[in-house]
């Protein structure tokens, strides 16, 4: 006997992401978790600018395209006015960690009771694969044509570790969507993050390592392999701040 698996109604439409893009997986996981927590009809998504904003067309919920990088500030305004509605800031690494690092960090700093899901694909996907603050050392992008030189650009940022170690947040984790097992783990993390918000425990965030086959110039499976072999060693998976520690 098989277990029924049906795409949640709030995302049951086509997406406009590239083939093999991890966004589609993560969004489905968020929607499943919302459904399981009884929040799928009680949610607002402030969306980042970049590929994350393509979620707008794929979502049948309240949602707002925020100015580039500001989703966590917008989320803050929403949460303060609708404290019983689940607020999910959905952003990419360029949005959340590069242009939006101030707003993103400050929401964590305030321990704002929101959830920020960041898709880390180590580049600015929508604008053509430019370097972001999570681009790997040596990674070639359209704006680091000789490979990222960290002596000049700084090192890739590890956001969940940063907020887990420096701020009083409720939950911080990192997962990857490279295999069914890892996807199941990401779902567990996202559910923890959303549950923390529903229980009013404070700021929760999950970063998801996700492939960008188009800009990486790899096929889908090759992109997944790159995450396993190159990216996970730099960006360890796991929970950096667990709910039960509180």
């Amino acid at each position: 006997m098989a277990v029924s698996r049906k795409v949640p109604a709030i995302i049951d439409r086509e997406t406009s992401f590239c083939p093999g893009c991890g966004h589609g997986i993560v969004i489905r996981l968020i929607a499943e978790c919302l459904e399981e927590l009884g929040q799928d009809n009680n949610v607002i998504f402030p969306l980042g600018v970049g590929c994350s904003s393509l979620l707008g067309g794929g979502l049948v919920t309240d949602r707002l395209h925020c100015p580039h990088g500001r989703a966590s500030a917008v989320a803050t305004g929403m949460k303060r006015c609708e404290p019983d509605v689940t607020i999910v800031a959905y952003q990419g690494d360029g949005d959340a960690y590069s242009i939006g690092i101030a707003e993103t960090l400050n929401a964590a700093y305030r321990n704002e009771n929101i959830t920020m899901i960041a898709i880390n694909n180590t580049n600015f996907g929508m604008t053509g694969g430019q370097m972001s603050w999570t681009t790997m050392p040596g990674q070639k992008t359209t704006t680091s044509p000789k490979g990222r030189d960290c002596a000049v650009t700084g090192n890739p940022i590890r956001f969940p570790e940063l907020v887990a170690s420096q701020f009083d947040v409720a939950y911080a984790a990192r997962g990857a969507v490279t295999s069914p097992k890892r996807i199941a783990t990401v779902k567990k993390y996202i559910k923890n993050a959303l549950a923390a918000q529903v229980n009013k425990e404070g700021y929760s965030t999950v970063e998801v390592l996700s492939p960008c086959p188009t800009n990486w110039g790899l096929d889908v499976l090759g992109a997944m392999k790159r995450i396993e072999e190159e990216i996970i060693p730099y960006y360890p998976l796991g929970e950096f701040k667990k709910r039960e520690e509180r």
Partner: protein
Amino acid sequence: MAEMMKGNVAIAEAAVRAGVRFYAGYPITPSSEIMEYLAKRLPELGRQFIQSESELAAINMVMGAAACGVRALTASSGPGISLKQEGISVLSDEELTCVVVNVVRYGNGLGTLFSSQCDYFRETRGGGNGDYRCIVLCPSSIQEAVDLMLTAYELAEKYRVVTVFMTEGALGQMMEPCELPDFVEPPKLPWGFDGKYSYKKIGIFDRDSMQEAEQLNRKYETIRAEEQRWESENVQDADYVFVAYGLPGRAVKGVTRQMRAQGLKVGLIRPITAWPFPVKAFAEVNPGVKGFITVEANATGQMVDDVALASKTVFRDRFVPTHALPCVYGLPSRKFIMDGFGQIVSGARKEVY
């Protein structure tokens, strides 16, 4: 009974009474008393106050609140409002509503703390990218400011635009007697998010920007036609009509009344909406008027452009010279106005347009 109140405090309390449920802001002289007051006042009423990390974050927090359909407020000054322009443009694009108070101070860049009207261009033209307009209210007394605050929200919500409340450092800092308006129950606006997708807002990629642009333009045309506000006096037989708003508008009113008493045929138009600019006020002006004179607290004479355009609109068949008397900052003294007027009448001072 009217009580002595500080401008910024009165504006903040008027906002509370107009149903503001959310404030986010960042301190900057000369506007800070607004947020200091609301830091205490809003939580008392179970409403929300956030000291944000920047003006940029503040306007985005306001955007979040506005998206949830509450009356939201932010206040700042010169450079702080510059940082808010991105958010104001997005709010305008999403047809979300809020009030942005600019307690104007003088200067480019970091500027100074002196009271001024140097942000006229930015507020009336829009400092962010795109094709939008904000309604701009410019009170000339604390009483007028508190009376306009509810109007600011009602106009914003009627047209789904941002209202800029353009006041001046001196008005924010001064005290004068003022009677506060009654309390309004904070509304939940019908387009506000509730988490249940009951208002079917669509995403930016689903929208038809060309069609929207036409609708927006029609909306702005309606505002232009319906919402011009001004005060004027002695314009029907005036040889010269002064145009001034805010505190300088009030100062010029006193001087033109004195000039009238001395037999000089001068009048005054005091815009209360800087956008839409009160072009209609010019239709009441003496057809034989010899010139318009703006008195502005900036260096370049900014409103003079709008006055020249209004003059062109109304006096189609003849050229009426438009002069500017920019006093840079502070308030124009009687002597400044009289000297400038003398130069204009004698021809020693050339018109701008």
